[in-house]
Amino acid sequence: MKEWTKQHILGIKDLSRDEIELVLSQAQAFKEISQREVKKVPALRGKTVLNLFFENSTRTRTSFELAAKRLSADVINFSSSTSSLSKGESAVDTVKTLNAYHPDIMVVRSVSSACLYDFDKYTQASIVNAGDGQNEHPTQALLDMFTVKEIKGTLEGLNVLIVGDIRHSRVARSNIFAFHKFSSQTTVCAPPTFIPYEFDKLGGVEVSYDLDEVIGKADVIIMLRIQQERQNSSFFPTIREYVDKFALTGARLAKIKKDCIVLHPGPVNWDVEISSAIKDKVHPLILKQVENGLAIRMACLYLVGTNKR
């Protein structure tokens, strides 16, 4: 296996297949630790991890925080909503300011797409992207892959189906790039208003507007969260019509392959993307994703925190 050399994890776009495999195998090792009685390892003792969240996300932040603590790192949480940014301090100012604490790793969640690529001008720390606008959410894609590999035993040659608001989804983008690196094909399925312009030219992506037509051949289904306010911007007329065309219901669940996996980055809007009638069937796997997310984030922090660059 290759050695890890990347300083940052900014997106799946910049990771090679080997690097993804390295994260997954490292996560496997950490997952075993999480099942022990003493869950802590001294891997990042003496290192400082700064959770810098410009957008609220208790779930992702908690996952990163716990991951850092399990690795014995010191953790600082800094949350700054958009309102304080509009007072004149930019994200860059905040990074410059917090860099004075000499963090080893900055975990950054931002509302702006593609805004992390030049953060290394302002800090020596390794940067781990915890979601940047609608661009990427690499640790989410990595944990999805980890979960798929755990169940399927492989990431190759799969038909992945992503359903929902593709346009505004960093999870969709990261997963598409990730599965493409393993020669798996992704189909995105949504109303055309949710498909970005020329998306089929991206590589590794097919577009469908008919869930019933494509659901039967999927090996993996990722259901995305629908934000109800999109209805006001005319992306779709009503939730009722969206549910009718694109929700995962009992009837649709009956059409999927026997060994098909259903994932959701959470939190689920029950009865919007997924019918609550099938909650018992899909929820256990979604909780498994949360557990795997911890292992993946430990792996990411460990790899960027200890690399010999």
């Binding site: 930019s90 702006s112 593609a114 805004c115 661009n135 312009y197 998306f199 030219k201």
Partner: protein
Amino acid sequence: MKILIKNGTIVNADKIFEGDILLSNSKIISVGKNIPESADKVIDAKGKHVFPGFIDLHVHLRTPGREDEEDFLSGSKAAAAGGFTKIFCMPNTNPAIDAESIAQWIIDESLRLGVVDIYPIGAITKGREGKELTEFSALKRAGCLMLSDDGASVSDSLLLRRALEYSQMENLLIVSHCEDIRLSGKGAMREGVISSKYGIRAVPDIAESLIVARDIELAKYLNKRIHIAHVSTAKSVEIIERAKKQGVKVTAETAPHYFTLTVADVEKSKFNSNFKVNPPLGDDKDVAAIKQALGKGVIDCIATDHAPHSQAEKELPFDVAPFGFIGLETAFSLTCTYLVKNKVIDLGGVTEKLSANPAKILGFKQCGKIEKDADPSIVIADLNKKWRVSAAGFHSKSKNSPFLGEELLGVIEYTIHKGKVVYSGSNR
């Protein structure tokens, strides 16, 4: 004071020849061979090219309101360093240039500073809000020659119709910033594979061409003049070309970044806010169409859309940073590097696009050419020399340029305006 420029290669739009130029502060006294050295100052221009002073129909000088980003003096110095002796400043200031007193004040300031001529472009609507017309006659009386709501498009077609009609009375030229603001929304870059790949809100190219088409239809219907600002797309070029063939009274400008940069450069810059501009950078097809349109005369002139922004504003993430970058000091060299060297236009074309055609659009009969009795505004440049764009070299107060670090061909050595050297030296 009289200045004699010796042995330069004089570049008029239609003719290039060697000669001397003797000028005073009011006019060019004579052009010819071996003019006797009776002047106060003699400049040896052997091996150099001599152009009539450039005219920029589209700059943002940020004054009044954001004097920290640019003021009339720094903007004038940047213009002079770029060879521009007449610049037209857009009214998207605070307050907007929508009243006689503000327009008059700008002209007074320009005369007081005495570097280059600054002309105010009056707003079409009060506060540039797109609701009520400004006092066109009063703005004309103060010295405005053109009107625009630049930065904003006049969305209301009826209001634009009224503006086109009413402006005729004062022979004011309406300059249209063409953008369907519902389609462009909060877009930060051109819509396409790259915007989709990075999840960045984007602007379709038709957000420009739809309004270009509407404005041209209005001008055609009313038989009035219209000038299209910063043309950036192949589709707009096609519409303008067709209209010109039909005899519609339309003129058009483009900016240097639309024949040099594409959306691929935005990605390559890692979404550096210095590459964010409105209209956004297009693709290879657009650049090719813009170049061809300049070559064929479909696009009449090059204007900079000089748009200074503070460091803090440009440190904002790409999707929320303000649009635009500075351009006065790079326009000439970009024209040499990307158009002349690649034979898109010839040297006469430089004079045509940067001086003669803007003069024609404005009706400035004594500008845009070097001949006896013409305007004594001159640019002397060394076309064999290169220079590297750097923040420290800019005279503008703002340093936001997508060309930082790039090596460009064509160094301006002197800019003379009204018989006075307003810029000299290769202190870059």
